[in-house]
C-alpha cells in the first residue's frame, strides 16, 4: 500500500500531525521545523509526481488514471480506498502543495496556540490531498468532510471579527451542501450496477459500466451539482464565502479560497458531469444561468465593499463562478479553461489573502477608507498586491489572462443564442474586475498617506517574502508558458468529453 506514491500525500500530513503532537505547546521552533519540513516534503512530492506523470504520458502510457491502487475498506458497502490521478488531479495536488507551503510561511507567527492551529491546518490538508487522489466516491466524500470540519475551529478560534457567526455559517452551509451531495452520491451508488450486480463507488467503474436511468440522472445531477456548487460559491449559495473569508486567519483564507473552493469545481466535473452526462447535457442551462449570475453579481458586489477581504471574497465568487460556468459549457476548451482558472484563482487568491493578512498585521485595519499610500511605506507588499491585482484582472503574462481567455474562446464554441448571451455577460466581467481592482489599488496603495501612524510601519519580513515569491513565480509561470499545462489538462478531459458526447 505504501509503495503507491499517492498514499503519501495523505500520510505526510498525518506524520506532520504526529510530529506536532510531540512538540511542546510553546516550542515555536520545533513546530515551525515540523511544518517547514513537512510542507517542503509535500511540495517535493507533488513536483516529483508531476514529473513522473509527464514522463509516463510522454512514454505513451494512455490509461485514464495513473498510479492507481485500490484497497478494500468496508466490504458490505463495497467501499474501497481507491486512488489514481490524471493530469487534472496532478495539477490540483501541485496547487494544494504550493498553497500549503506558502500558507506555512504566511502563518509564521500565528498566535495563540500555534501547535493546535497547525494540527488543524494539517488535518485540513489531509482532507484536501485525500480528496484529489481518491477515485472512490465514498472516500472522496469522507476526505471532503475531513477538510470541512477543521475550518470551523480554525475560523472560530483563530479568526477575527464576527468569527463565531462566520464559522457557524460557513460550516452549516457547507454541511447543507454535503447533505445534498451525500444523497446524490448514494443515488449514484445504488444505480451503479447495471443488472443487479455489485454496486460500486469507483468513479472509473461507474463511468465504464453504469447506464443510469435518465430520470434518475436529472435528480442526482441536481443534488451533486448543488452539493459541490455550494462549495464552489455558486449563486445563491455563496454567502458563506464573504463572511467566512473575512473572519478567517490568513493561512486559512489562503487554503480555503486557494484549494478548498476548488474541491467544488473539481467535484462538479469529476462526479456530476462525468457520471451523469445525459443530465449534464439537458440541465446545464439551469446552472449556466446561476453561475452566469455569480460571475457578474460577485464582480458588482465587490465594487462597493470597503473591507479588503470582502472585496476578495466577492471577487472569488465571481472567479469561481467562472470555473463552474466554463465546466457547464461541456467542451474541451472551456473545461480546460475552468481548470486553468482553478489553478490561477487558487494561486492568485492565496497571494491576495496572504498580502491582506500581512497588511492587516501591520495596520490593524482592513478598511480601505482608513488606508492610503501604502506603496510608499511598504513597497514590497504594494508591488506584490499590484501583481496579484493584475493577475486578477487578467493581465497577459499572468495566469488569470490565460484562464479567462481559454474559457471565453471555449465557451464561444457553443453557437446558440442562449450561450452567446451568457458568454458575453461573462466577458463583461473583465471590465468590472478592472474597476474594483483598480479602485482598491488606488485607495490602498496609491495616493497620499491617510494615517500618519502608518508611516512607521515596516516592509515584509523574509518569511513573508518567501511566501509571496513562491506564489508570484507560479502565477507568472502559468501566465508565460501555459501550453504544457493546457495540453496536460486537455488530454485528461478526453474521457469526460467522450462521455458527454456519447450521451447527447
Amino acid at each position: 500500500m505504501f509503495t503507491n506514491i499517492l498514499i503519501w500525500f495523505v500520510v505526510i500530513p498525518v506524520i506532520m500531525m504526529i510530529g506536532l503532537g510531540l512538540c511542546r505547546n510553546s516550542g515555536m521552533k520545533a513546530i515551525r521545523a515540523v511544518m517547514v519540513v513537512g510542507s517542503t516534503a509535500l511540495l517535493a512530492l507533488a513536483i516529483w509526481l508531476c514529473v513522473q506523470f509527464l514522463q509516463l504520458r510522454a512514454a505513451g502510457v494512455d490509461d485514464e488514471m495513473l498510479f492507481t491502487g485500490s484497497w478494500l475498506w468496508y466490504a458490505p458497502l463495497n467501499i474501497h480506498l481507491a486512488v489514481g490521478v490524471d493530469g487534472i488531479s496532478v495539477l490540483m495536488l501541485m496547487l494544494s502543495a504550493i498553497i500549503v507551503f506558502a500558507g506555512t510561511f504566511a502563518s509564521w507567527k500565528i498566535t495563540p496556540l500555534p501547535k493546535n492551529f497547525f494540527l488543524w491546518f494539517c488535518l485540513l490538508s489531509t482532507g484536501v490531498f485525500g480528496f484529489f487522489i481518491s477515485i472512490d466516491m465514498f472516500t472522496m466524500f469522507m476526505f471532503y468532510e475531513v477538510a470541512l470540519i477543521p475550518m470551523y475551529l480554525l475560523i472560530g478560534v483563530w479568526g477575527t471579527g464576527r468569527k463565531e457567526y462566520s464559522a457557524m455559517k460557513l460550516t452549516l452551509m457547507l454541511m447543507g451542501g454535503s447533505a445534498f451531495l451525500m444523497l446524490g452520491l448514494l443515488g449514484i451508488y445504488w444505480h451503479s450496477a447495471p443488472e443487479g450486480g455489485q454496486c460500486t463507488w469507483n468513479i472509473l467503474e461507474i463511468s465504464h459500466n453504469a447506464s443510469i436511468d435518465a430520470s434518475w440522472q436529472y435528480m442526482l445531477f441536481c443534488f451533486t451539482f448543488v452539493g459541490f456548487g455550494v462549495l464552489g460559491a455558486m449563486f445563491p449559495f455563496h454567502t458563506w464565502s464573504p463572511d467566512g473569508h473575512a473572519c478567517a486567519p490568513t493561512a486559512v483564507s489562503m487554503l480555503h479560497a486557494g484549494v478548498l473552493m476548488k474541491l467544488g469545481g473539481y467535484g462538479c466535473f469529476r462526479i456530476a458531469i462525468f457520471l451523469l452526462p445525459q443530465a449534464a447535457n439537458e440541465l446545464a442551462w439551469i446552472f449556466i444561468i446561476l453561475t452566469g449570475i455569480s460571475i457578474v453579481y460577485g464582480a458588482f458586489s465587490a465594487c462597493v465593499q470597503t473591507d479588503l477581504k470582502y472585496i476578495n471574497a466577492y471577487s472569488s465568487v465571481s472567479h469561481c463562478g467562472m470555473v463552474l460556468f466554463a465546466i457547464l459549457m461541456l467542451n474541451t476548451t472551456a473545461m480546460t479553461g475552468a481548470i486553468l482558472q482553478m489553478l490561477s484563482h487558487g494561486l492568485m487568491t492565496a497571494l491576495f489573502f496572504a498580502l491582506i493578512g500581512m497588511i492587516y498585521g501591520r495596520t490593524h485595519t482592513r478598511d480601505i477608507r482608513q488606508m492610503g499610500g501604502l506603496m510608499k511605506i511598504m513597497p514590497y507588499l504594494g508591488v506584490c498586491y499590484m501583481i496579484a491585482g493584475f493577475a486578477s484582472l487578467g493581465l497577459p503574462g499572468l495566469s488569470g489572462f490565460v484562464a479567462e481567455m481559454t474559457i471565453f474562446f471555449g465557451s464561444f464554441q457553443n453557437a446558440d443564442l442562449f450561450h452567446r448571451v451568457f458568454v458575453i455577460c461573462a466577458t463583461a466581467s473583465i471590465v468590472i474586475t478592472a474597476v474594483y481592482i483598480l479602485r482598491v489599488v488606488g485607495k490602498l496603495l496609491l495616493g497620499p498617506v491617510q494615517d500618519k501612524h502608518h508611516l512607521e510601519l515596516t516592509d515584509a519580513t523574509w518569511w513573508e517574502r518567501f511566501s509571496t515569491v513562491t506564489l508570484i513565480v507560479c502565477i507568472a509561470g502559468i501566465g508565460c508558458f501555459p501550453n504544457w499545462i493546457n495540453e496536460t489538462i486537455q488530454h485528461s478531459f478526453v474521457p469526460i468529453i467522450n462521455a458527454i458526447q456519447a450521451a447527447v
Binding site: 445563491p236 454567502t239 458586489s301 466577458t427 463583461a428 473583465i430 501550453n483
Partner: protein, 647 residues
Amino acid sequence: MGITLPILILAIPVAMFLILGIGGVFMSRKTAGVLGILGMGTTMTLAYIVAFTYFFSGSPEFIVEGVRQQVQLFDVTWLAFTQKLVVNIGFILDPISAMMLVVITTISFMVHLYSWGYMEHEPGFQRYYAFLSLFSFSMLGLVVATNIFQMYIFWELVGVSSYLLIGFFYKLPSAVSASKKAFIVTRFADLGFLIGILVLSYYSESFNFITLTHNPESVLMSTGGATFMGCSALTWAMVLIFVGGMGKSAMMPLHIWLPDAMEGPTPVSALIHAATMVVAGVYLVARMFPLYCVVDASLTFVTCVGAITAFYAAVVACTQLDIKRVLAFSTISQIAFMMVSLGVAYDRPIEGIHYTGLGYMAGMFHLFTHAMFKALLFLGAGALIHAVHSNNYTKMGGLRKYMPITHLTFLIGCLAIAGIWPFSGFFSKDEMLAAMFANHWFWGAWMTMVAGLTAFYMFRLYYLIFWWDENPEYAEHRPHDAPWQMSVPLIFLAAVSCVAGFIPFGELVTWNGEPYHIHIEGAVAATSLTVAVLAIALATVMYRKKNEWPARVKNMWPGLWTAAYHRFYWDEIYMFITHKIIFGGICRSIAWFDRHVIDGAMNGMAWITQKTSFAIRGMQSGQIQAYVLWYFLGALLLAAVTWLALI
C-alpha cells in the same frame, strides 16, 4: 533573415524591464538611466537594421517582382485553444510593421534620452525606466504580432504600461484617478475588441493575420450568412474590433481618458499618448484592412467616427488652457484624421471590387510624420513645463527670448502639424485630403476645415506661449533652455520633421505591397495650404500681442466657448453614468440585495430553527416525572393501537 535579431528586439526591452524593475533598488540613478538608454539604443539599432533590410535589401525573401511580402520571421505556439485556434507568438515583417519598428524605437530612444534630463530629480527614477522598457517591449510586440490574439495580448500590456506610467506620480490623487480612468476606459473598449475576436475567430477558425487578410472573401463566406440585428457577423466582428481601436486611439465617445492621461510625466505623454500607443487603433485597422474592405459598412463606421472626432477634438483644443491638454486634443484630432483616411481608402465598387489604396498609404504616412512632430511638440512642452513649472499657458508668454532652442523646434512642430510646405505634415496631410476628396467631396471639405482648425489652435498655442505677454514672474525665476539630454531629442525630431516629407513613402508602405507613386495634387494642395495660411494669419492677428480680441470672441459666443472649454461635458456624462448609475445604482443595490435578501434568507433559516427549538424546548423540562408521564401515555397509546390492530 534569421530569428536572432527579431528575438533580440523583443528580448532586450523585456530584459531591461526585469533588470531595472527587480534590481533597480540596488542601482544608482545614473546606472539605471545609462542602462535604460543603452538598452533602448541597442534595440533601436537592431530595429533599424531589420527595417532597412526589409525595405532596401531587395532580397527575394522580402520583395517579389516589386511587391513587398509579408514575412513571418518566427511564429511559435503559445497556447492551443483547439486544434485550429492556436495562439502563436511571432514576428511579422511587412511594410507597416517595419515602419512602426522605426517609429517606436526612434521615439522611445529619444524619450529615454530626454527623460534623463527631465526626470533627473524625481524619486523612482529606476522604476520609471523600467516602465518605459516595459512599454517599449509591449508596443514592439503589438506591432510585430502575427495574429490578432498576440495583438490583443500586447494590446493589454501597453494598456497596463500606460496605466503605470500615467500614475507614475502615484502620490497625487489626480494622477491616480487619471491612470485608473485610462485603464478602465480602454478596458471597456477592449471588451469590444475581445468579443470581436471571439466572433471573427469562431467563423474564420484562425487568428493569423496573413491567413485572414489574404483571402478576406473566404472569411466572409465562412460566416455563412450569419446575421445579427441586420448586420452580417463579419461586420459586427470588424466593428467590435474597431471599438477596441477606438478606445486605445481615443475616438469619440471613448476619448475621455486621453486628456486626463496628461497627468503622467511629459516624456511619457510624448511616447505613449502622442506617438505610439494611441495610434495602435489606426494600426489595427490598417492591419486588418482587407477584412474591413469586404464589409464596407464597418469602413463607413470608421470614417464617420473619425470625422466626428476630428472636428470635436479640434474645436475643444481651441479653448483649453493647459498646453498638454491642447496637444492631447490635437492628438485625438490627428489620429481621427488617419482613421478617416483609412476609412475612405475603399473606393466604391464601379466594376467589381477594387481598392485605391491611396488613403491607406496616406494614413500610414501621416502616422509616421505625426509621431515625429507630435513627439517633438510634447517634448517641447516638457521643456517649457520644466522651465516654468506649470502646465498652464497663462504662466507662460514671451518665452522666445529665454528659450531659443525650444522656441525654434516648437515652431517647426507647429508648422509641420499645420501642414505648411516643406514640413512633413504638409505631404502626409495633402495625400490624406486627396484620398478624401477622391472618395466624396464632403469628407474632403469637412477634413479641410478640421485642418484649418488645427493650424489655428496650434498657432494660438504657439503665440500664447512664445509671444503674447511676458509673465512678470520671470524676473525672479528666469526660464532657460533645457539641458543637452533634452535638447538633443528636440533638435533631432525637428530635423526629422523638416525632411520626413520627402521620403518616398508610397514606394515603401502600401496596403498590398505594390509601390504607389505619390504625386501632389495641385488643387487639393493649394486649398489646404490656403486654409492653413489663413488660419495661421487669424491666429497671428488674435494672439501675437496681448489684445482684447480673444476675450471679445469669447464673449460673442459664451455658451459655445464654455461648452467647448468643458469638452462638451463628456466627462460629466461619464461621471454620471459610472458613479450615479453603475456604482450608486447597480453595485449598491446588488450589495444590498446580497446582504439583506440572500444573507437574510440564510440568517432567516437559522432564525426559524432557533425559534422552533426555543418553542419546543419546554418539553425538555428536566423533570423525570414529566418524562415518565409522557412515557406511559406513549406506552398506553401503543398498546391501544396494537390492540385495535389485532381485533
